[in-house]
């Protein structure tokens, strides 16, 4: 075990997988010599060389589109989109092409492509760097959507993503890159997709979150504990595939639930979580399920982002109301 930040854990996964499998290559903007704007790929080019660690032109569409061709040629590309907010410029390649390539070729070819993209607010970025677009990609069948919250999971889920025969969008919470620290196993391990993590045990209600919102939920649970409310925290880890059984079992036990996410309210993935719970566990519910999310406005300039991002206070208020009702 080694204490690592999340970005160190991601870098460790890339280093180890490139050593283990010589087909693995990374490509993206500023990822080679600079080591990525967050240094997630720092040092890779020195070890694995410029053929496998490639600074591409500034063009999201061809970063993702060429990754599909590279995969068919037998490489295992890990493409980086510098910020998820710019993934709109590759949306046609991610959803319509990479995501459904196995389907379109009736299984003749897969698309073993990993797309890494940092996202999320709280670090005072310029416009479009912080948007939480994950739900938009959940509507791209064939694609898996992975949202690690801890350093341990960042490494284990990234290794699982790179080895997955299907394409994976791997969203990294940029405010967690250096803030989130934890014990990370040395050497090889994977975290399977579709298995949520119980980040904190609790009896009175279940807080459901993913990525950086897990920390917000954990801090809220800490505060709630001080007032005698025992909150369970679930980290979904992967939105596609979704751990329906784990989610339903947890809510059946507590009967109360609050979903927390950084994306806008309407048709955010929280809506899917709630719809699933009401389909599968409606008669276990003791109270309406609440959502704590960003509002349905564009992501603002940095000066007012603290108002936009879900806060611990808002989660605590929603949890109190849910427990009382």
């Amino acid at each position: 075990m080694t204490m690592m930040t999340m970005v160190q854990a991601i870098r460790a996964a890339l280093f180890e997988e490139m050593a283990r499998d010589e087909r693995v290559m990374v490509l993206g903007q500023d990822i080679a010599r600079l080591g990525g704007v967050f240094r997630a790929t720092e040092g890779l080019v020195d070890v694995y060389g410029p053929d496998r660690v490639v600074d591409t032109p500034l063009a999201e569409g061809v970063i993702v589109g060429s990754a599909l061709g590279l995969a068919v040629a037998g490489m295992v590309p890990v493409a980086e989109i510098q910020f998820l907010g710019f993934a709109h410029q590759a949306f046609h390649q991610i959803g319509a092409q990479v995501g459904r390539f196995r389907f379109r070729t009736h299984g003749r070819f897969g698309a073993q492509v990993t797309i890494r993209a940092p996202f999320g607010g709280g670090v005072r970025t310029p416009e479009l760097h912080s948007d939480a677009l994950e739900a938009q990609f959940v509507q791209c069948p064939g694609l898996k959507v992975v949202m690690p919250a801890t350093a341990h999971d960042a490494k284990g889920l990234l290794l699982e993503a790179i080895r997955d025969p299907d394409p994976v969008l791997f969203c990294e919470p940029l405010r967690g890159y250096r803030l989130v620290k934890g014990e990370v196993p040395d050497g090889d391990y994977t975290v399977p997709f579709g298995q949520l993590r119980e980040a904190r045990t609790g009896e009175d209600l279940t807080l459901v979150a993913w990525s950086a919102a897990v920390q917000v939920a954990e801090q809220a649970a800490e505060r709630l504990a001080e007032e005698g409310i025992s909150a369970q925290v679930l980290d979904l880890r992967t939105l596609v595939p979704l751990d329906v059984d784990g989610l339903v079992k947890a809510v059946e036990r507590t009967g109360r639930c609050v979903v927390v996410h950084e994306a806008p309210l309407s048709a955010g993935f929280g809506a899917e979580v709630i719809a699933t719970i009401q389909e599968e566990a409606f008669y276990s519910l003791e109270a309406p399920i609440a959502r704590v999310t960003a509002p349905d406005t564009p992501y603002p300039l940095a000066g007012i982002e603290d108002l936009y991002i879900p806060t611990v206070d808002r989660v605590v208020d929603a949890a109190r109301a849910t427990v009382k009702s």
Partner: protein, 348 residues
């Protein structure tokens, strides 16, 4: 930039031009061009009878696709198509009954056979150009000698993907032949509304590689310029952009009505430059082609097409498995439930 041309419309070689294709290859090319033309007509008829879905005919552009495909080695080279390149796909090993299976709307029947180096037919315009660049780049990284021919049209050249892909291809010297078939139309939008540039080929040098314009209805010229581009790519010198000037004699698809926008005089002028007539005249002058040969081949070709239609129509009806089997390599539990639910209900 003047188009490269070797064969005149009357079927004679232009002064100084040399036919690099032996007679045997020219006959094979003609057979494929005639098959393509006849398959177009059959597919349109089947669509009218409700037995096929929307179909995009090739007619008028056969020399561009046959000449270019003949410059490739199907054993090691790849084709990344758009959707109007039937004879190139057939030459590369994609069976006609599978192509028909695709237009019938049956994914299992359309599957690219193992060993055929081809991407699936692409309906979104230009999105396949980045795929072709990645594929060529990847073949080179793996030390393989393959070259990728990427097909698209004048309309697709307006997409951002065209620019992004050519730009990257120049930088990584991807072994790709960008084959732009300028057939004059993107549905009803004429070429002059796609670009104010004199040629498409002139964009090549701005990405650091050559561009060449060729008479797309001249089998010999298309084959020669593509062969040169393939050799260049295979020897590590990078991509080439080929602009093949041809004309869409038929409609955009069976859903289109070109009488609303095509100038009949322009259409007639291009019909006089028909690529199949040109090759037949060339062979006739050599004593290798006559009316009897045409009649015999037409019969053979009809039988071949009927056999392909039969295979395509005999395919098992799709089931819920076809919907789910290849959505993911390993179907997530949530989709298993959806599959089982639809399976239980049976065919609507």
């Amino acid at each position: 930039m003047e188009p490269v041309q070797l064969l005149d419309t009357d079927g004679t070689l232009l002064p100084g031009a040399e036919a690099r294709l032996p007679d045997e290859s020219v006959l094979k090319a003609l057979r494929l061009m005639m098959l393509s033309r006849a398959a177009d007509r059959r597919a349109i008829s089947l669509q009218r009878q409700g037995r096929f879905g929307t179909f995009a005919p090739v007619m008028g552009q056969e020399a561009a696709f046959v000449g270019s495909a003949m410059a490739l080695d199907p054993a090691q080279d790849w084709i990344v198509p758009q959707y109007r390149e039937m004879p190139a796909l057939l030459h590369h090993g994609y069976p006609l009954e599978r192509l028909f299976g695709y237009f019938k709307g049956n994914a299992a029947a359309a599957k690219i056979p193992d060993g055929v180096n081809m991407f699936p037919i692409q309906i979104a315009l230009g999105v396949q150009i980045p795929h072709a660049v990645g594929l060529g780049w990847g073949l080179r990284l793996r030390g393989l000698p393959g070259v990728v021919a990427c097909y698209f049209g004048d309309g697709a050249s307006s997409e951002g993907d065209f620019h992004e892909a050519c730009n990257l291809a120049g930088i990584v010297k991807a072994p790709v032949v960008f084959f732009l078939s300028d057939n004059g139309w993107a549905i009803s939008t004429p070429r002059r509304m796609q670009t104010a540039g004199a040629t498409f080929a002139e964009r090549g040098p701005t990405y650091g590689f050559p561009g060449v314009v060729v008479d797309g209805n001249d089998l010999f010229a298309v084959h020669a310029v593509t062969r040169e581009a393939v050799d260049r790519a295979r020897s590590g010198q990078g991509p080439t952009l080929i602009e093949a000037r041809t004309y869409r004699i038929g409609p955009h698809t069976t859903a289109d009505d070109p009488t609303r926008y095509v100038d009949p005089a322009e259409h007639a002028a291009w019909e006089a430059r028909d690529p199949i007539d040109r090759v037949q005249r060339y062979l006739a002058a050599k004593g290798l082609w006559d009316g009897a040969a045409e009649e015999a081949w037409a019969k053979e070709i009809d039988a071949e097409i009927e056999a392909a239609v039969e295979v395509a129509e005999a395919q098992a009806a799709p089931s819920a498995d076809d919907l789910f089997e290849h959505s993911y390599a390993h179907l997530p539990a949530r989709l298993e439930r959806q599959r089982d639910e639809l399976s239980r209900r049976g065919w609507p």
